[in-house]
C-alpha cells in the first residue's frame, strides 16, 4: 500500500527558473489498485512518479510504502520496492548487455550483489520460460544485445524486468508514448495482463484519455502540481472522454488544452 502525504517539490529554488512542480500532493493507493494518472504538460504527473521513485529528494511531505516512510531513501535503495518502466524505451534496459544479463540484473534488485556468478544456469532456464510468455520470440535471442531490439520489444522486456520480482508498486511513466499505436496497444495489453496476474499495485501516467479510462480501476487527474480529480469504482467504469473533459473544466476553470490527449 502506498500513502503519499502532502508532498511538495520546487525545482531550481531561488533562481529565475524556479518551478513549483508539486503543491502538496496526497494520494493513497490500496493493495491491488491500478491508478491511471492524467493531466496536461507540466501538471506534475511524472514529477509525482519520480518523487515516489526517489529520483531526487522531496522538499516536504512523506511517502509511505506499507507503512514505512521511504522519503529518506536514495533511488537505488528504494528500487527494492519498486518496478519502473520509463517513457523512453532506451532508458529501462542496458543496451550493450545481453537480454539474459538484463534480466539477471533485475532479478537481483534489492539484494546485495556479491562475487557469486552474475547469472546461473537455472536462471537462464527460468528467463527462457518468462520470455516465452511475452510471445515476442525473445526466448530464442537470450544472448542478443538489448540494443538490437525494437522500442516495443525493449518496453516489453523492461516490463518483465520491473515485475520479475513482485514489486510493492509498479510505476509506469508514459511507457507507451514513444511507441507506434499498434505496438503501444500491445504493450498496454501486456501491462494489464502482468498487473492482473501478479495482483500488483500500479500507477500509470498517460497522455491518452482513452487509455486512462479503459485501464485500471481508478483515475487521477492532475493540474498545476495538484490532484484535481480522483475517480474510482463504478463511476470510473462509466466514464467517457467527454465526462472527463467536462469535469476538468469544472475543477480547473479552464479548457483541457492538450491536442495529444484529445486527438488520440
Amino acid at each position: 500500500m502506498l500513502e503519499i502525504k502532502n508532498i511538495c517539490k520546487t525545482f531550481n529554488k531561488g533562481t529565475v527558473n524556479e518551478k513549483v512542480a508539486l503543491r502538496g500532493v496526497s494520494l493513497t493507493l490500496n493493495d491491488g489498485d491500478f491508478v491511471t494518472v492524467i493531466g496536461g504538460n507540466g501538471a506534475g504527473k511524472s514529477t509525482m512518479l519520480n518523487a515516489v521513485a526517489g529520483v531526487w529528494p522531496i522538499d516536504s511531505g512523506s511517502i509511505l510504502l506499507d507503512g514505512v516512510n521511504v522519503a529518506g531513501l536514495p533511488e537505488h535503495k528504494r528500487a527494492k520496492y519498486l518496478g519502473r518502466v520509463f517513457q523512453d524505451p532506451m532508458n529501462g534496459t542496458a543496451a550493450t548487455m545481453e537480454i539474459q544479463e538484463n534480466l539477471a540484473i533485475a532479478v537481483r534488485r534489492g539484494k546485495s550483489r556479491t562475487l557469486r556468478p552474475g547469472i546461473t544456469k537455472k536462471e537462464k532456464q527460468q528467463f527462457k520460460e518468462m520470455l516465452k510468455q511475452l510471445d515476442l520470440g525473445l526466448e530464442d535471442r537470450m544472448t542478443s544485445k538489448v540494443g538490437l531490439l525494437s522500442g516495443g520489444q525493449r518496453q516489453a522486456l523492461t516490463l518483465l524486468m520491473a515485475t520479475i520480482q513482485k514489486p510493492k508498486l509498479l510505476l509506469l511513466d508514459e511507457h507507451t508514448a514513444a511507441l507506434d499505436p499498434k505496438t503501444a496497444a500491445k504493450v498496454l495489453e501486456l501491462s494489464d495482463k502482468i498487473i492482473a496476474e501478479n495482483q500488483l499495485t500500479a500507477m500509470m501516467v498517460t497522455h491518452n484519455m482513452n487509455d486512462a479510462i479503459t485501464h485500471g480501476n481508478r483515475l487521477v487527474m492532475m493540474s498545476e502540481g495538484q490532484i484535481v480529480l480522483d475517480i474510482g469504482g463504478e463511476e470510473k467504469k462509466k466514464l467517457t472522454v467527454e465526462d472527463l473533459l467536462q469535469k476538468f473544466e469544472q475543477v480547473s476553470g479552464e479548457k483541457f488544452a492538450n491536442d495529444q490527449a484529445l486527438l488520440s
Binding site: A53, E75, H76, K77, A79, K80, L82, R84, F86, M90, N91, G92, T93, A94, A95, T96, M97, E101, A104, I105, A106, R108, R109, G110, K111, R113, T114, L115, R116, P117, G118, I119, M161
Partner: protein, 308 residues
C-alpha cells in the same frame, strides 16, 4: 649498409614486444574505465608514476621485487579511490576529477622518491623484469597478462561485475534496478588504477628506474592500445569478439603500438616527436570510424541520390 639497418629493426623487436606486454597491463586498466565504465579517467598518468615510484623506493629499502608489485597495485587502487570520491561524492566531472588526482600525484610521486628520478640496478636486485633479459621479460609479461585476463573475465561475470558494466551502460536504469552507481564507479576506478599501478611497477623495474615523468602521456598510449586492439580484434573475430578477447586485444594493441613506435624510430623519426606521433595515431584511430560512417551516410550523398 641497408641490410644492417634491417637487422637493427629485427633486433629491437623483442624489446618492443616485452614493453608492449607490460604496458598492455595498463591498457587493460584503461579498457575498464574507458570501455566498460564509460569514464574518461586521466588519473592514469599519475598512477603509472606512482606505481613506479612505490616499487623502486621499496626495492631500494630492501623489499623483494615480487612483493613490491602488490604494494604498487594497492597504491594504484588508492589513487583510483580518490578520483572516484572526487567524482561521486563531491560531484566533480569525470575528466576534471582525474586531472586533479593526476596533478596531485605528481607532487606525491616527487615526495615518495625525494628527487625526480631513482634508479634500481638489475645487478644489485633480483628484479621481476629487466630489459637486460628480454626473453624472460616477455615470459613474465605473458604470464601476468594471462592471470589478469582470467581474473577479470571471472570478475566481470559476477554480480558485482555486472553492476559495473550496467552502470557504464545506463546509469538511470542501474539505479532503478537497485544498483548504487556511485559505488560501482568507485570500484571500477580503483580496479583500473590498481592495474595501472602494477604496470608502473613493472615498467620501472624493466627500465631500471622510476621517473616522475614516466607516466606523462600514458593515457594516450592506453587509449591507442585499446582502440588499435579493438579495430584489429573486430577485423579478425567480428561478432565473436567476447569479453576475454577484448581484454586480450587491448594488450595486443599495446604490443602493436610499441612495434610501430620502434618502426618509426628506425625510419629515423626523432624521438622528441614520439608524443606528437602518438597523439596523431590516436586521433586517426578515433576519427576513422566516425568519418567512415559519415562518408557512408553524408548529406552530399543524399543530395546526389535525390537528384538522380
Amino acid at each position: 649498409m641497408f641490410d644492417l639497418e634491417i637487422l637493427d629493426l629485427f633486433r629491437a623487436m623483442p624489446g618492443s614486444v616485452a614493453q608492449g606486454l607490460i604496458w598492455g597491463i595498463m591498457a587493460i586498466g584503461v579498457f575498464i574505465t574507458y570501455k566498460i565504465l564509460n569514464f574518461a579517467d586521466l588519473t592514469v598518468d599519475g598512477t603509472l608514476g606512482l606505481g613506479g615510484a612505490v616499487a623502486v623506493m621499496l626495492i631500494l629499502a630492501g623489499c623483494p621485487p615480487y612483493l613490491v608489485l602488490i604494494a604498487s597495485f594497492i597504491s594504484g587502487i588508492l589513487a583510483g579511490l580518490i578520483t572516484g570520491v572526487l567524482h561521486t561524492l563531491l560531484g566533480i566531472p569525470d575528466i576534471l576529477a582525474g586531472i586533479l588526482t593526476q596533478i596531485a600525484l605528481y607532487s606525491i610521486n616527487l615526495n615518495i622518491m625525494g628527487k625526480s628520478n631513482q634508479a634500481v640496478s638489475v645487478d644489485q636486485y633480483d628484479l621481476v623484469v629487466s630489459l637486460r633479459y628480454i626473453s624472460e621479460a616477455i615470459m613474465v609479461g605473458v604470464i601476468f597478462l594471462i592471470i589478469i585476463i582470467a581474473l577479470l573475465y571471472w570478475y566481470f561475470g559476477t554480480e558485482q561485475g555486472y553492476t559495473i558494466r550496467c552502470t557504464g551502460c545506463n546509469e538511470n536504469m542501474s539505479r532503478a534496478q537497485g544498483i548504487s552507481t556511485g559505488k560501482a564507479k568507485v570500484i571500477g576506478l580503483a580496479l583500473s588504477n590498481g592495474l595501472v599501478g602494477l604496470s608502473g611497477a613493472l615498467i620501472a623495474q624493466y627500465q631500471g628506474n622510476a621517473d616522475v615523468n614516466m607516466g606523462r602521456g600514458a593515457i594516450v598510449i592506453g587509449l591507442a592500445a585499446v582502440i588499435i586492439g579493438e579495430v584489429i580484434g573486430t577485423a579478425i573475430f567480428g561478432k565473436y569478439m567476447n569479453f576475454a578477447l577484448k581484454l586480450l586485444f587491448a594488450a595486443i594493441g599495446a604490443i602493436i603500438y610499441y612495434l610501430v613506435i620502434t618502426f618509426v624510430l628506425w625510419l629515423g623519426l626523432p624521438s622528441d616527436n614520439m608524443k606528437l606521433f602518438s597523439a596523431i595515431v590516436v586521433a586517426l584511430f578515433l576519427a576513422v570510424p566516425y568519418l567512415k560512417n559519415k562518408y557512408n551516410t553524408s548529406f552530399a550523398k543524399a543530395a546526389k541520390k535525390g537528384a538522380e
